[in-house]
């Protein structure tokens, strides 16, 4: 009843081609942004911001990166964890080689390193597709993991083999490191994620995004229409890895504070793939939903027994989490391959016609 588009006539192709053509959607987006930028920093607790909002946003960005590759272009990848690592390690090198560099700039620059590495490992996609590509992305995953361990230059020859985040200021505010407040880090993460999501949305709705979807739906026809596979595929690997790289850099610099190679292993790649599947292949909003769901699920599973007064140890929680996630993946792929985003869309459709569905 409230979610109605009646009376909203579009009088130009510009209005009709807009990304959110319905007024209520535009209002909702501004509302969410206001909550995220104003209400959360004002009223959110340290735990809520640091353990829920920041990782949620960071994983959302990584999921968007993988969704651009898998959901929009149909190239499945199990290397997103490693590409996040490329972002993190290159940020670390940048801020230690150039101590005066703006750390936010370093994080964004590191995305370009990840994009470059992503393009190299994306090269085989020009000749192969589907399952074969899974193997080449696994090659990227394991080779890069090895590099993070065996090339000590990457972690400045630390004995621990870990990268640790120095305290760095931007405009006299400590942004990264142990002294940075959760709220500051949250606002930086939020700004980057919102900005990059906006860019992703623009790309997807334009010529370049269409060329990616053409490759996904029918690569031969795409080429016969004039899409250059080389350009389309390498550009998507670059963009996707850029997003993953920035997400990885933020994960270490604006959330964890330190990281070892385990943070970027193949399980991380799986988790991000699951976020994309559960959220919805080929949906930006779905990437947020999937990331939120996968991140919040173990927190909820931990909380429920506490509320019920049961005592369940941490490893059991983890096992149950595995089972639920695995089973949900199966259920979603069987029942709703387009994920949470489609369920959301169906709900909106219902709302649009409510209370007179016929």
């Amino acid at each position: 009843m409230f979610y109605r588009e009646a009376g909203q006539y579009k009088t130009s192709y510009k209005a009709d081609s807009a990304i959110f053509p319905i007024l209520q959607d535009r209002i909702a987006i501004w509302f969410y942004l206001a909550v995220a930028f104003i209400a959360v920093p004002l009223f959110g607790s340290e735990f809520f911001i640091n353990s829920m909002m920041i990782p949620f946003l960071i994983f959302s960005l990584a999921a968007i990166g993988l969704n651009i590759l898998t959901g929009y272009t149909g190239q499945i990848s199990l290397g997103s964890g490693a590409f996040m690592g490329v972002g993190a390690y290159s940020t670390y090198k940048l801020v230690t080689i150039f101590p005066d560099m703006n750390v936010i700039l370093a994080i964004l620059l590191s995305g370009f390193f990840a994009a470059f590495i992503g393009m190299i490992f994306g090269l085989p996609s020009l000749r192969i597709k589907g399952f074969y590509l899974v193997v080449t992305t696994l090659a990227a995953q394991f080779f890069l993991e090895w590099a993070f361990i065996r090339i000590p230059w990457l972690y400045n020859y630390n004995d621990s083999g870990a990268i640790e985040v120095p305290n760095r200021r931007v405009f006299d505010i400590v942004v990264s490191g142990s002294e940075a407040s959760a709220t500051t880090r949250y606002l930086v993460v939020l700004s980057i994620v919102v900005g990059l999501t906006w860019v992703a949305s623009n790309l997807i709705h334009g010529r370049i995004g269409r060329s990616w979807m053409m490759i996904r739906d029918m690569d031969i026809a795409a080429e016969l229409i004039g899409v250059r596979p080389l350009v389309a595929k390498l550009s998507v690997f670059a963009v996707s890895s850029f997003y993953c790289g920035v997400a990885g850099a933020m994960m270490v610099f604006l959330w964890l504070g330190a990281a070892e190679v385990e943070s970027f292993d193949v399980n991380q790649s799986f988790l991000i793939l699951f976020m994309v599947i559960l959220g919805g292949l080929g949906s930006l909003i779905g990437s947020f939903m999937g990331a939120g769901f996968i991140w919040m699920l173990p927190i909820v599973i931990r909380a429920i027994p506490k509320i019920l007064g049961l005592d369940i140890n941490a490893s059991t929680v983890e096992h149950i989490n595995f089972m639920i996630v695995g089973a949900l993946i199966l259920v979603f792929l069987i029942v709703e391959p387009h994920g949470l985003a489609r369920i959301w869309a169906i709900a909106k459709q219902k709302l649009r016609v409510w209370p007179f569905p016929y």
Partner: protein, 269 residues
């Protein structure tokens, strides 16, 4: 019939010079020869039909024309230029677009997006503008949207503009595919069995669209079709293939009387 500068058709249209010439094309897959030493030309403004029994090499011929298969022997001259081994997207760039035997639409995208996809090569704004979707990139998008709407009007598919093509009935999918091919404003349009699986009414619609395209935009059309009635009505010249060889080439009337053609279709007793 061999003319150096075109001819006039039965219905009085003037056909221009040679747009594309294929000389002694041979295409093999391993030990199988799909096309044996075929030569043919396509002239500016004409509707050229390629017919023949199943497996005669018709679709392979189209695939050679738009660069998807590379013939082992022979040469192709397009608009007076010798064509080297080229990739399909380069053929598209030269103005060749096509539809497919089994509909090859982008099933996850809407009708509108599919047709916009056809304008891929006409859009040039770079990555940075695309990222911002502002200024030139947005204007470009809107401008092409206008062109696409003209094609949508032309093919009478306004109602399905925002429908994902995967859920459309077959006849409409074929029409969307034609729209997508037209969106590229091709100089040579290849249609691979545009009327396969259609009922009489849909066939009549499609025939009308093909004639209108040829008439209004002056597009040269090469089409493969099994329905002889349609071919005889539409085509200016017909080439007949059988087992990868050319057995006849000429006006519909000439071809119809050719003994080899009759043998190929009815079998030799």
């Amino acid at each position: 019939m061999s003319f150096d500068v075109g001819y006039t058709t039965a219905d009085g249209r003037t056909i221009g010079g040679v747009l594309m010439e294929m000389k002694n094309i041979t295409l093999r897959f391993g030990g199988v020869t799909a096309i044996k030493n075929i030569s043919l030309d396509i002239r500016e403004g004409e509707i050229r039909a390629i017919i023949g029994p199943n497996g005669a090499g018709k679709t392979s011929m189209l695939n050679v024309i738009n660069g998807f298969y590379h013939p082992q022997e022979g040469e192709i001259i397009f608009r007076g230029e010798h064509r080297k081994r080229m990739r399909p997207y380069q053929a598209a760039k030269q103005g060749i677009s096509r539809t497919f035997q089994n509909v090859a639409l982008f099933s996850g995208m809407t009708t509108l997006d599919n047709i916009m996809a056809g304008r891929q090569l006409k859009m040039h704004k770079n990555f940075l503008w695309q990222m911002l979707r502002y200024g030139p990139a947005l204007n470009e998008e809107i401008e092409h949207r206008r062109k696409v709407e003209e094609i949508i009007d032309f093919l009478e598919i306004q109602a399905i503009r925002k429908t994902p093509v995967g859920s459309l009935p077959y006849g409409l999918q074929k029409r969307v595919e034609l729209a997508r091919a037209l969106a590229a404003e091709p100089s040579l349009l290849l249609l691979d069995e545009p009327m396969a699986g259609m009922n009489v009414e849909e066939k009549e619609d499609m025939s009308r669209f093909i004639l209108d395209v040829n008439d209004e935009f002056g597009t040269t059309i090469a089409l493969i079709e099994h329905d002889m009635g349609v071919v005889m009505d539409l085509a200016d010249r017909v080439v007949v293939l059988d087992y990868g060889k050319k057995i006849a080439d000429g006006t519909p009337n000439e071809v119809q009387k050719n003994q080899d053609v009759i043998d190929a279709y009815l079998g030799v007793a």
